[in-house]
Each structure stands twice: as structure tokens, then as C-alpha cells.
């Protein structure tokens, strides 16, 4: 082999090697994909979770193996001309079983029957906790006005389930109490200001915070000298809009709440994440001065914003969380976030026949510990007592009052 041949060979090897890069693959956009078969639906939802799910760095589900296992099931649905609602429901429950995201649910239209099936991985875990119980929101609030020493009882209406009351504290002082069912106070207050809802809807908020309702603590009972402590009761609160957090929760402390860190997806690869950035929430300009105790009541049915509130109260110098370990959906999301972050909610049930609701902001505490799927552990545990409720007592609220009055 002479030198000329060697050089030609080198050139050929170089040219050949250039073609050694793997070809890029085209992936469907799971946010907007028309599905005409059961396999189409499965592949689209599988792909959306594959690319946009937030917890692949710690989830134990083998997503590729699941694809291999489940694809034949959906092929069979297509080949036999359809599936019953029960079959489809079972298939999707198997698909999402064990996923960590406690916000997640999958809603799919059965192409044959037109009915919706629904799968929620948290529902495979939460009800099996030994302290799990249904929400007894209505029964508990019905007891409020019957409790010893209660005055100033207020309630909203069905547009915004909200209740407030004044309890006797220690040394002649008072305890201001507020309970609401969802974090939709700001939008409700706006609707009231536009005249679309009656003012009574946010009556308890105004009583507690002041006339502005969602502008921090102004001239409401929470800020008055006669009040030594406040209780925010988030038992059975399913969460809602993040915009409520600052006026309703962060206004209870003068200091900034340092919760931990957040991140989001930064690409379509399972492990493509942004860097962690600090998760701080400033106090509201209209805030308490820090001299009052702040107690937050939570239970296993406290979800999402309720859990975030628990983290914030735990970071307050005078804050205490009482109740049960919460639901475990601690990572927030922006609806429609898939277009923005290529993670989170995707699909549209009405036009596409599928919809997946899932988180798009990962949250960890200051030690980079995730509470997703676990929940917030209260500072003082007090489990729900069904027998007490049957006997007309709310043992968890009683425990909160006892803590404020006695300091233990």
C-alpha cells in the first residue's frame, strides 16, 4: 500500500465517519395530537409523560418497560374494534400506577363509547395511608358556631366556601380563625369588585384581613391588638391559585419565607432540567408584625397550595403547623404550561379526547429534599378523630386552640 493510497483511505475514512452521528428522531407534540385509535391515544399520552413529566430523576416506574407491557393491550383494543369503559379505565390506571406526581390525573375519551375514563396515581397511594379519612369539611364547619366561647362567626356562600370566627385565647386575648375551601380568594374578590358576586361572598376574608380582603392584613381582626394568635384552617382545602399565597399566607409574617428551591424542565429529554433557583416568597407589604402566633391546621386532604402554605408557616419564627401529614402534591403547576415549559398539563379533552394534568415546577426544601408524594409533616401531629366528630367535637381544632392557650 503506497502513500497515495493511504491518503485516499484517510480521506474516505473521514468522510464515512462524518455520517456516524445518529439520526434525529421526530416526536409528536403531545399537547395537540389528534388520535384516531387507542394506540394513538396511548402513544401520545405516553410520550407526553415521557418528555414532560417532572420526576424522572427519582420516580421508580420503568417507563420504557411499561410501554412494552401496555402497547399490546391498546393494540388489542384496536384490533377487536374497541374497549369497554372498564377495560380502558383499568388500562390507564395500570399505566400511571406508581407515578410520584400527586397532582397528576389522566382523562381519556373512550373512542367507542364516547365516555371519559380517569386515572390518578395518587389515588393508589393516599387512601392506603393508615391515617387516611374522607374530608368532613361540612360537618366540621357546622360545629364552629357551637364551640365554647366562639363569637363573631361569619360564613361566605357557595361561590367561595369560607368561614371565620373569634375564639377566646389566654389572658383575655382572642384568637382569630379563618377557614376556606380553595385558593380562589383573589379571583373571587375581583368578581365581587366587578359586581358579579355579592359582597357577602368574601365576608369572612374581610373580617379576617380587612376591607380589601386580599390586600394583606389591613383593618381586619387578624391585625388587631386584642388578637394574640391566628389560625388558618386548610383541612380539606384542595389548593388553587398561587396568587393567593402572598396576600393570605405571607401577610402573616414580616419576614421573607425561604422555602427551598425550584426548577423546571429544559428540554424534551426525561432528565433535561433547568438549574435550581431559590424559592423565596416576600412578605406582603401589609403584614402582621411577627408578635402573634400563627397556626396552620392541615390534614391528609390538604393539597397543593395548602401544602405550600404549610411549608411557609413552618418557616415563620412564630408559625406552627398542626394536624396530619398532607396529601403530597407539593409541586405547583401552571395550567397550559406545556407551551411554555414543555412539561406540565397537556392535551385537551374536548377537542382531542385526552387531557393530562401534571406538575411543571419541581420544589425541594432547603436540604434539597422533595415532599412530592410524601406531604408536609406537621410540627404537632393530631390525627382526625371520627368518634369525636360524631360526638360533636373537632379534636384537631381543639388541639390548635389548646396549643395557643397553653403554649404546648
Amino acid at each position: 500500500m503506497n502513500a497515495h493510497t493511504i491518503k485516499i483511505l484517510l480521506a474516505l475514512v473521514a468522510v464515512a465517519a462524518v455520517g456516524c452521528r445518529k439520526e434525529a428522531i421526530e416526536v409528536v407534540n403531545p399537547d395537540r395530537h389528534f388520535c384516531y385509535t387507542y394506540v394513538d391515544q396511548f402513544e401520545t399520552i405516553w410520550t407526553g409523560i415521557d418528555q414532560g413529566y417532572l420526576f424522572w430523576d427519582r420516580d421508580t416506574v420503568d417507563w420504557d418497560a411499561l410501554h412494552e407491557r401496555m402497547l399490546p393491550v391498546f393494540r388489542q383494543f384496536d384490533s377487536k374494534g374497541g374497549a369497554t369503559d372498564e377495560e380502558l379505565d383499568r388500562a390507564y390506571k395500570q399505566m400511571v400506577h406508581g407515578l410520584l406526581d400527586h397532582h397528576m390525573y389522566v382523562q381519556v375519551k373512550n373512542l367507542k363509547t364516547g365516555n371519559a375514563v380517569y386515572a390518578d396515581p395518587a389515588w393508589d397511594e393516599v387512601p392506603f395511608r393508615d391515617y387516611y379519612h374522607y374530608t368532613f369539611f361540612d360537618q366540621q364547619v357546622a360545629l364552629l358556631k357551637t364551640m365554647e366561647g366562639v363569637t363573631e362567626y361569619n360564613e361566605g356562600n357557595d361561590y367561595f366556601r369560607c368561614y371565620s370566627a373569634l375564639f377566646p385565647g389566654s389572658n383575655g386575648k382572642k384568637i382569630a380563625y379563618l377557614r376556606f375551601r380553595s385558593f380562589s380568594a383573589s379571583s373571587t374578590a375581583r368578581a365581587v369588585s366587578y359586581g358579579s358576586l355579592p359582597a357577602a361572598t368574601i365576608g369572612p376574608l374581610r373580617w379576617f384581613y380587612g376591607n380589601d380582603a386580599t390586600n394583606g392584613v389591613t383593618n381586619g381582626w387578624a391585625g388587631r391588638d386584642a388578637v394574640e394568635a391566628v389560625i388558618i384552617d386548610l383541612r380539606g382545602n384542595g389548593g388553587g391559585n398561587l396568587e393567593d399565597i402572598r396576600p393570605l399566607i405571607c401577610s402573616l409574617t414580616p419576614s421573607r419565607s425561604d422555602i427551598g428551591y425550584t426548577r423546571h424542565k429544559e428540554g424534551l429529554g426525561r432528565l433535561d432540567y433547568s438549574s435550581w433557583t431559590p424559592f423565596h416568597i416576600d412578605s406582603h407589604p401589609n403584614h402582621l408584625d411577627g408578635s402573634k402566633k400563627v397556626v396552620l391546621l392541615v390534614d391528609v386532604n390538604s393539597v397543593s397550595c395548602s401544602e405550600l402554605s404549610a411549608c411557609i408557616v413552618q418557616s415563620m419564627p412564630h408559625g406552627t403547623v398542626i394536624g396530619e401529614r398532607t396529601y403530597g402534591a407539593t409541586c405547583p403547576l401552571l395550567p397550559g404550561g406545556h407551551n411554555m415549559l414543555y412539561s406540565g398539563v397537556f392535551g385537551d379533552y374536548g377537542s382531542l379526547g385526552y387531557y393530562v394534568y401534571t406538575s411543571n415546577f419541581d420544589v425541594v426544601d432547603k436540604d434539597y429534599k422533595s415532599l412530592e408524594g410524601v406531604g408536609v409533616t406537621p410540627d404537632i401531629e393530631c390525627l382526625f378523630d371520627f368518634t369525636a366528630l360524631q360526638n360533636g367535637r373537632d379534636n384537631q381544632l381543639e388541639r390548635a386552640l389548646e396549643y395557643i392557650r397553653t403554649g404546648k
Binding site: 503506497n2 502513500a3 497515495h4 491518503k7 485516499i8 484517510l10 480521506a11 474516505l12 475514512v13 473521514a14 468522510v15 465517519a17 462524518v18 455520517g19 456516524c20 452521528r21 445518529k22 434525529a24 428522531i25 421526530e26 416526536v27 409528536v28 407534540n29 410520550t47 415521557d50 418528555q51 430523576d57 417507563w63 420504557d64 410501554h67 398561587l242 396568587e243 399565597i245 402572598r246 405571607c250 425550584t262 426548577r263 423546571h264 429544559e266 428540554g267 424534551l268 429529554g269 426525561r270 432528565l271 433547568s274 438549574s275 435550581w276 433557583t277 431559590p278 424559592f279 423565596h280 416568597i281 416576600d282 405547583p332 401552571l334 407551551n339 411554555m340 415549559l341 414543555y342 420544589v363
Partner: protein
């Protein structure tokens, strides 16, 4: 972009072949007059440094508002060469090469979001270099490299919950060492090294050089950790200025030997 790089590589391969062929007479012998100072059978060692520019090649698919752009970096290293003939040098380098890139989001709500990735690699390229000329020599090389992703940094702005809830813009910034993920990151790097350059005899035993390198990565920077994984490659262009020292016989001796 990939097609452009491929076309350029083809062109370079062709140039390299022509350069080699031009140094050869029809009867297969080499025109030694074109390489009067070539030190046959001798070694040279040197150092080099320069700048580079890296392109992170990735198919973003439908995520069309993710814009990857090239970023500059620095490169430096040591080189060694063996000269078996008057026109051929077998080169081996140990090079620190930065393969940096930037990701911007081109979408209204997240238009401020970006990440600048600084990645330090240690590369060991081995190449065959052919050259011709007298005072100035023109060289072209083709070879391969193997390397290792040593460290990285990430700096930029990201969407944060703090920003959404209380408008804390300072909480959107980050600047940190890159934490490798054993599942995702493929720290082994290999690919082609090719390019061209100029050589000039600067002193008795010292040459100076300017080289253009293309480090064309053939290994995905990610491990094959998921089914529908779009590969990511780095293509790095570097301009390196070097100085090399001839070992062994004096310059005059090598001249005499090559002209005999």
C-alpha cells in the same frame, strides 16, 4: 446546520487528499525540493493555545422556541509530532477544549430565560498531517480524538415560582457548577479532528504554527437512557497558535539530511 457541517467536512477531506496528492510525482516519488527542511525520523514537541467556538447540535423537535446558539471558549494544550517522511507528520495532542453553548427561549412569557453552558473537555487527538512549502508550510491533518468531559458550569436565568408569586427577579438567576447526572451524561467524548494550518520556521529549532481544528463529535453527550432520545453532539472549531521545538539533531543537520 448538520448538512452544512457535512459539506464542509467533505470539502476538507478532499482538500487533504489533494494536498497529499500534489506532493507526489507521477512515479510515486515525493518532490523533496518542496520540503527542504523536513526532519525525517525526528520528533518535535510544543504547546498551543487559542480560541474556539462550539455548536451544540440537537434536534429540538416541536419545541421550536428553544434556540441553541454557538458560544466561544478557550483551548490550550501540548503537542508532539513524529516525522516519518518529509511530508507526513504523525501528531498527538493533549488539549483542553471548551465546548460551550447557549440556550435561549424565544417565547413571550419566558423570553428572559436562558442558559449558558460552559463545558471543559480534555481531548487527546491523534492525526496524520501532510504539509508542503519552504519558509511557510501549509498543512492539513485528519485524525480522531478521544476525550473526557471534565467539568461544567451553568449560568443564566430561569423561570422560578418566586418570580411568579412575588416578582423576585433575583431568584431567576443562577450561576453554578454543573452537577453531572450519571444516568444522563455521557462524559466520554470521541470524534474526528481535522483541519489545516500554517507553519513557519521561527528559529533554529523552533517553529510557530497557526492551526484550524474541527473537533467533530461522534459520541452523543447523553447516554442512551430513554427510548425516544434525540441525540446531542458538539462540533467545535478552534484556532490554535502554537510553538514547537525540534528534538535531537540541529536544524542544519536535518536540512542536510533531507536534501541528500
Amino acid at each position: 446546520m448538520i448538512e452544512m457541517v457535512k459539506r464542509f467536512l467533505l470539502l476538507m477531506a478532499g482538500v487533504a487528499a489533494l494536498v497529499g496528492a500534489s506532493a507526489q510525482e507521477n512515479d510515486g516519488t515525493f518532490r523533496s525540493s518542496m520540503f527542504p527542511k523536513e526532519p525525517i525520523g525526528r520528533w518535535s514537541v510544543g504547546v498551543f493555545g487559542g480560541m474556539d467556538n462550539n455548536t451544540h447540535v440537537v434536534n429540538v423537535g416541536y419545541a421550536s422556541d428553544m434556540k441553541y446558539t454557538s458560544m466561544g471558549g478557550t483551548t490550550a494544550g501540548l503537542s508532539a509530532g513524529y516525522h516519518p517522511t518529509g511530508w507526513l507528520t504523525l501528531r498527538g495532542d493533549v488539549a483542553w477544549v471548551q465546548k460551550n453553548y447557549r440556550l435561549d427561549r424565544d417565547s413571550y412569557y419566558v423570553s428572559f430565560v436562558y442558559t449558558e453552558s460552559t463545558n471543559n473537555y480534555l481531548l487527546v487527538p491523534v492525526a496524520a498531517e501532510i504539509s508542503f512549502g519552504r519558509t511557510f508550510r501549509v498543512a492539513a491533518h485528519i485524525g480522531a480524538y478521544a476525550g473526557y468531559w471534565l467539568t461544567g458550569k451553568r449560568q443564566g436565568q430561569s423561570l422560578s415560582v418566586s418570580y411568579l408569586v412575588s416578582g423576585n427577579e433575583e431568584d431567576t438567576f443562577f450561576d453554578e457548577d454543573y452537577q453531572f447526572d450519571e444516568t444522563r451524561d455521557n462524559r466520554f467524548d470521541a470524534g474526528l479532528d481535522f483541519g489545516f494550518g500554517l507553519r513557519m520556521a521561527f528559529a533554529k529549532k523552533i517553529d510557530v504554527s497557526v492551526d484550524m481544528h474541527w473537533y467533530y463529535g461522534l459520541t452523543d453527550v447523553q447516554k442512551n437512557y430513554m427510548t425516544n432520545l434525540n441525540p446531542r453532539y458538539n462540533t467545535t472549531r478552534a484556532i490554535q497558535v502554537g510553538i514547537s521545538y525540534w528534538l535531537g539533531k540541529k536544524n542544519g543537520e536535518r536540512k542536510a539530511k533531507t536534501e541528500n
